[in-house]
Amino acid sequence: MTADLPEGLQADEGLATEIRALLAEHAGREGPLLPILHAVQARFGHLPAPALPLIAAALGLSRAEIHGIASFYHDFRELPAGRHVLKLCRAEACQAVGGVALAETMRRTLGIDWGETTPDGRVTLEPVFCLGLCACGPAAMLDGTVIGRATPDRLTEAVA
């Protein structure tokens, strides 16, 4: 099925076996694609390129279609993230309490821009538009843990 794919898109046996197992878990669900993409990213930390043709084949979609869908969302990554993922809220309620300045300080401190990972692979910085913590901003989320009234010191310490 994947035999005529270009170099680098061939799933090795280990990956193929795991993806097939994940696909089997979702068999019979209505609208399984989004849960499958989440499951793959939860397992591998990103969506490995060779996984896409396998998912596509199982769902009767083309590889281009899967790519078009996955890339629509901010959550799915093509490459692994750093050891920590720091999300900073860029939305209005956090702007009103110094969120913009906080984000600037963090970008400078970490030496990276939005979407980038520090060269040592320690932390990836991502923007998020509202974490629902708008009454205790600036809000941040570090590896799924919420942080309110965030300060540069607190965040720098958290990703150290």
Partner: protein, 506 residues
């Protein structure tokens, strides 16, 4: 000794887990019930102690406060963190808590506590009624969609009830993408059975037996609580082939979003659920007739659905007794941004913006004057003080070129620059556009460029901006492109000085 400590994400973000740990060490025999939030975010982590007179509140509690609080065994009323009886706090007393009655009061996953506090009464009543009677009750209550558009819920349900199909769906929109809003999150974390009950009633009303909650990925705590609640509801027979032993089936699943604002738009959401590219669909067909997988579908916001149990339990007239004009019932206001007292405040429609901002929110946290208030999320208008007499209602805000949306109220002090805010609105639209229509996809990018030229003081740009907004308003398929002009033009018309930049020397 029974203690109550919130495990709402806002409480956690302010250290509730560390406080919980400190309490376990300081008072190992105390029973600590983890609840949702009372909504007083400036007092989180909020600790409550059960007494014969009611619960006594202490907050905000820091880890360092804990040893002192428990030095004599029980936290004492003369402790500096003591606030008195929770229910007597002005913030609580002034509210009409219908939808959020149990939030912050009970362990969110304790079904017995849910029932003891009035839960399931609405569903039990609905089980005795015909679908048409349930729909009529919701119609008579005057309930309108709390997700933003304010469409009458009963009318939507009636369309789905009238549609003939083998299979129909209830889809709960828990995408809560609007900045400055967190009511859905708080409800799902604090009283998930209320949403489940509301969805089950909706299922009975339109003869649907399957539900989906589309829950944004930015809310990991809400996802965990909702999933656990669905499992518990199934185990107790609240969900499943025979809801509360009635012989009528209703079950549901939680689906997690993937970080795209436009997926909160109902047709984009349906495409996302189906596993398609989540672009917006043209209407008609209405989702009520051809929704999920082409079948009749109710799409409602979390707060809309969670308001249904109390309507059924206490009757349409009771609910409709609150409010103003055609805005009936209560709305959970989410007070956020630069405020002294931020959080969730549920009240009947009709409070003026001044009452909310100056009085309930206590003005800014910075102590500086309020400059602007954005109401209704990123697509909502910025209101200047001159419009603070606007009463909270769908029509009242529309009459002033604004919208109430999901009732997020974001306060800015006088350090805010409204040109920067307008630019952000355009930038946000450009980032989140689904790309289907040109006025939105290209217009928002142009909008950012035009505003950058305004910043540089180039002449003739304001007319361009106005034309562009006109094109977006009338040429966009959905409210993302269509309403982005609200924040932009309100900033321009109410704060023209911020747009009058001197031309910079090259």
């Amino acid at each position: 000794m029974r203690l109550f400590l919130s495990q709402d994400a806002a409480a956690k973000a302010l250290g509730a887990e560390q406080v919980a740990e400190a309490i376990r060490a300081a008072a190992p025999t105390a029973e600590v019930v983890r609840t949702g939030s009372r909504g007083m975010v400036w007092l989180e982590p909020l600790l409550e102690v059960e007494t014969s007179a009611g619960r006594i509140a202490f907050g905000p509690v820091a880890v360092a406060d804990v040893p002192g609080l428990f030095a004599d065994g029980v936290p004492a009323p003369d402790h500096p963190r003591c606030l008195g009886l929770t229910e007597e706090l002005p913030w609580m007393k002034r509210q009409t808590r219908l939808t959020f009655a149990r939030c912050g009061v009970i362990d969110p996953l304790d079904l017995a506590a849910y029932e003891a506090e009035g839960g399931l009464a609405g569903l039990r009543r609905a089980l005795e009624m015909t679908p048409a009677e349930i729909v009529a009750e919701v119609t008579d209550s005057g309930l309108r969609g709390r997700g933003g558009a304010g469409f009458p819920t009963g009318i939507k349900w009636n369309t789905v009830l009238g549609a003939q199909a083998e299979r129909k769906y209830i889809v709960c929109n828990a995408d809560e993408g609007d900045s400055g809003t967190f009511a859905d999150r708080m409800l799902m974390e604090g009283d998930p059975f209320c949403l489940i009950e509301g969805m089950a009633i909706a299922g009975l009303a339109v003869e649907a037996s399957t539900g989906f909650i589309y829950l944004r990925s930015e809310y990991p705590d809400a996802i965990r609580t909702m999933q656990a609640a669905v499992v518990a509801a199934r185990a107790s027979g609240l969900l499943g082939p025979s809801v509360l032993g009635s012989g009528r089936a209703f079950d549901m699943e939680i689906r997690v979003g993937a970080g795209a604002y436009v997926c909160g738009e109902e047709t984009s959401l349906l495409n996302s659920l189906e596993g398609r590219r989540p672009v917006v669909r043209a209407k008609p067909p209405l989702p009520a007739l051809q929704g999920l997988f082409g079948r009749p579908t109710v799409v409602n916001n979390v707060i809309t659905l969670a308001s249904v149990p109390v309507i059924l339990a206490r009757g349409a007239a009771f609910y409709a007794g609150f409010g103003l004009g055609r805005s009936r019932g209560t709305m959970p206001l989410q007070i956020a941004g630069n405020v002294q007292y931020g959080g969730l405040f549920e009240a009947g429609f009709g409070l003026t913006l001044s009452e909310v901002v100056d009085d309930i929110a206590g003005g800014t946290a910075s102590g500086r004057p309020v400059k602007a208030v954005q109401v209704g999320g990123p697509l909502g208008a910025y209101f200047p003080r001159a419009l603070f007499d606007t009463p909270f209602g769908y029509e009242d805000y529309a009459a002033r070129d604004g919208l109430i949306g999901h009732a997020g109220i974001v306060v800015f002090d006088d350090t805010a620059d409204m040109l920067t805010q307008a630019r952000f609105a355009m930038e946000f639209c450009a980032v989140e556009s689904c790309g289907k229509c040109t006025p939105c996809r290209i217009g928002a990018v142009r909008g950012v460029e035009v505003l950058d030229r305004v910043t540089r003081g180039e002449p003739g740009q304001i007319e361009l901006l106005q034309d562009l907004c006109e094109t977006m308003r009338f040429g966009s398929l959905c409210a993302l492109g269509g309403f982005t002009p609200y924040p932009v033009l309100s900033a321009l018309s109410h704060f023209p000085d911020d747009f009058a930049r001197e031309r910079k020397a090259a």
